[in-house]
Symmetry: C2
DNA sequence: CGCGACTTTGAAGTAAATCAATGGGCGTGG
DNA sequence: CCACGCCCATTGATTTACTTCAAAGTCGCG
């Protein structure tokens, strides 16, 4: 598993610092902490394996965990990129089903590991914990639906544009800048595209002046213009230099 | 909305009959029933519209509700086919977010409509209800992940084979027969395929002797053989009559 | 029996995958 | 401080599986 354990004494303090636990009742938190540890995961370390039972709840403290499924052609389909303050494994633990995905560290990470038995026991005792967990799982479900919507778009340009617009800080923000949350090949895999196609689409949108790409940083000047792309049937380059967008 | 209300007196009895409510505590059930009604929906009647707030929880009593997203080219991507005993809308209600999908009756249906306010209030009171709802949402989430896995397969043959194998009654059943849960075009849309492609793949698998199709009824003699297809990179007809499938 | 909805089949077009090779950035070590 | 090597990203040429468009064929049902 490639895990390095970290000072156990810090656990309750760290837990309280995490927004994840902010709203958790104090006594539940104490009991959960008793069955918890913080581990360091080197990049590419495995957190969970597909079709194997999951025995813990994982809360990301720092770094990034990649949830994915392997496809033929040694490709991956990324289901989620789990960042600090986010968790993974609730649904599996609740249903006591085998894990339907692989999970590995996308970069060096610290993860709080909460014992699954303890978690499930507390879930039956503490209605606030149950309620919060319900919200978390519901949110994950909604994100999954949203991803399904993006991935079922036939046009790669629409897929990418829709994805980029998810980083809009407020619904009405016209311009904003952000960093892609992972390697471009992982983001591509999240969109159900190859890295080559993703790269080409990014280049295309840049050439159109709809976005500015420099490495992992992306700037969007006019979100509404990018939004328009989203509703179009098709808009790829037509062989000649500059396509007829708008 | 095209709704016909049904005898309100039957509501508590109907609720108790539904497996959905079997495990719900009696007093919660009483209060939920107070804010509930049973409606009849003609085929194609709208249940929920994308981007609009949802104000009720829907439990299907009979018939079939289709959850979907519209795509360009007046196509649909079906997210779920909700049958008797299943529900829809929990996640939206819990998060108080706009509905991320359309929902319409796929056939004439009876649906129990539980007031969202009442449902949310009971959720905060009754830990058993919270726990059961958590299980329901977790199950929906897992199904969503499973669908994502199927849809991210590049080969249509693999997609269809994987889907058909979901109807296997037990993990080890060698042969079984079942009916597709909806029109072929809707099943196709669930797999992210056109109805034409779905029809062709079904025909292909039939010609290979892997399945027998007659209308909506499908028989699988040797599930393990079909399972093999699932792991292959590609196996479509190569121009000539019969492809070289093991 | 005849209509409408759904499905099947055929032929052609196209967007994205694939294969292959180059280019850039960064950390390590000389 | 530069040079090497590794990983990641880009770019180009080709292939192909799926879509699309079009039309005929089933099926169920009034």
């Amino acid at each position: 598993m490639n895990r390095l354990h970290v000072a156990p004494a810090q656990i309750p303090q760290t837990m309280r610092r995490l927004s994840f636990f902010q709203v958790w009742p104090e006594d539940s938190l104490e009991r959960l902490a008793a069955g918890a540890k913080i581990v360091h995961l080197a990049k590419s370390a495995t957190v969970a394996r597909k079709n194997e039972p999951l025995e813990s709840l994982y809360v990301v403290v720092s770094g990034l965990i990649r949830m994915f499924i392997s496809l033929p052609n040694n490709m991956e389909r990324v289901l989620a990129l789990v960042g600090p303050g986010e968790s993974l494994g609730e649904a599996c633990l609740i249903l006591e089903e085998a894990c339907p995905y692989h999970a590995v560290a996308g970069k060096d990470s610290h993860v709080l590991v909460v014992d699954g038995m303890v978690f499930r026991r507390e879930l039956g005792r503490d209605i606030t914990l149950a309620r919060r967990t319900l919200e978390r799982v519901a949110r994950r479900y909604m994100e999954c639906l949203r991803d399904a919507e993006i991935c079922s778009q036939r046009s790669s340009v629409v897929r990418v544009a829709s994805y980029l617009l998810l980083f809009r800080p407020e619904p009405e923000a016209a311009s904003f800048t952000f960093h892609l949350p992972a390697r471009k090949q992982d983001v591509a895999a999240k969109l159900g595209l190859t890295q080559e196609t993703f790269s080409r689409v990014l280049g295309f949108l840049d050439k159109q002046g709809l976005i500015q790409v420099s490495g992992a940083q992306i700037r969007i000047e006019d979100a509404s213009r990018l939004q328009q792309v989203t509703t179009m049937k098709d808009c790829r380059e037509t062989g000649n230099g500059d396509a007829n967008l708008i």
